[in-house]
Symmetry: C3
Subunit: 129 residues, 3 copies
Amino acid sequence: MFTATVKTSSQFQIVDITKIVEDAVSKSGVTEGICLVSLPHATAGLIVGEYEPNLERDYLRFFSEFVPKSDYEHNSIDDNAEAHLKSAFFGSSKAFPVSGGKVLLGTWQSIMLCEFDGPRSRAIQVIVK
Amino acid sequence: MFTATVKTSSQFQIVDITKIVEDAVSKSGVTEGICLVSLPHATAGLIVGEYEPNLERDYLRFFSEFVPKSDYEHNSIDDNAEAHLKSAFFGSSKAFPVSGGKVLLGTWQSIMLCEFDGPRSRAIQVIVK
Amino acid sequence: MFTATVKTSSQFQIVDITKIVEDAVSKSGVTEGICLVSLPHATAGLIVGEYEPNLERDYLRFFSEFVPKSDYEHNSIDDNAEAHLKSAFFGSSKAFPVSGGKVLLGTWQSIMLCEFDGPRSRAIQVIVK
């Protein structure tokens, strides 16, 4: 298993982690298989798609409109229910095919860590089988 | 493959199935690999996150607001289109890394079965490779 | 790895690809394992659930209401931000258990490709381990 750490710098942020995953697959020596990327976190998520600054702002705007600030019960304990709800929708793990020793991503696909409750230090786990 | 059954007791419910998955990984004997949890159901889903009573109520409230009762066409056949829509968003399978013979979950991560059309008997399939 | 191509015929469409996945699992010769289905695309997605014409229209209606046309910044570059947002929610890969040489799907589960920005030619990658 490969582990990397990313430090986010704001409450809501999108970080392109494609290179981290590509390096892990390369180091694994697996030529054909499955690459699983997982975050051991409950207030972050993973998405796959085009990474460009305009769309990054669109993602962040949409996510905030989708789960607006509200009087969630969890907020009486820890004021981050919105982050948990977003994380539940996107999930904390994604799997990718590996072929020819490389992770197969389309031209417009990047792997992105979505920070919903930063800034924090986030661990990225990659396993290739 | 390991299979377990959970009986839900109400229409909307969240059931913590982490222990079922941990036991399956332990029994598999796999020390490093991928654990796949899957539900053979179209009106339930899986989420991963913090499991505590306040947040459980927040999840259920948000899911019902997110897909409100409406005049969906499927409801003329079987009155559960809302459950199908929720299931499509969350998905019926989740994969987790296994290392040191254990499923890797963060401190605040539990694996939860979301019942969207209960009460029913739900099968949980776990495969570890 | 197995690859198939599906040509979609309209902007928004749902295509049942269950047979493609079942055939790939059969050809793989794997009797017990994990089947990963992946799309190398950023404006399509995969869902799993009941495939019937009424529900298909419900899915398409809900997805369009969920991410309505808006003034997203990405649309100044390429007028498909809505498709990217939908794809981020549903994801481009899904994993399924394989047992007895077959992909395990429930009675009401079909694997569906969701076209959010068609018509296009879409590649489907299936790997079984």
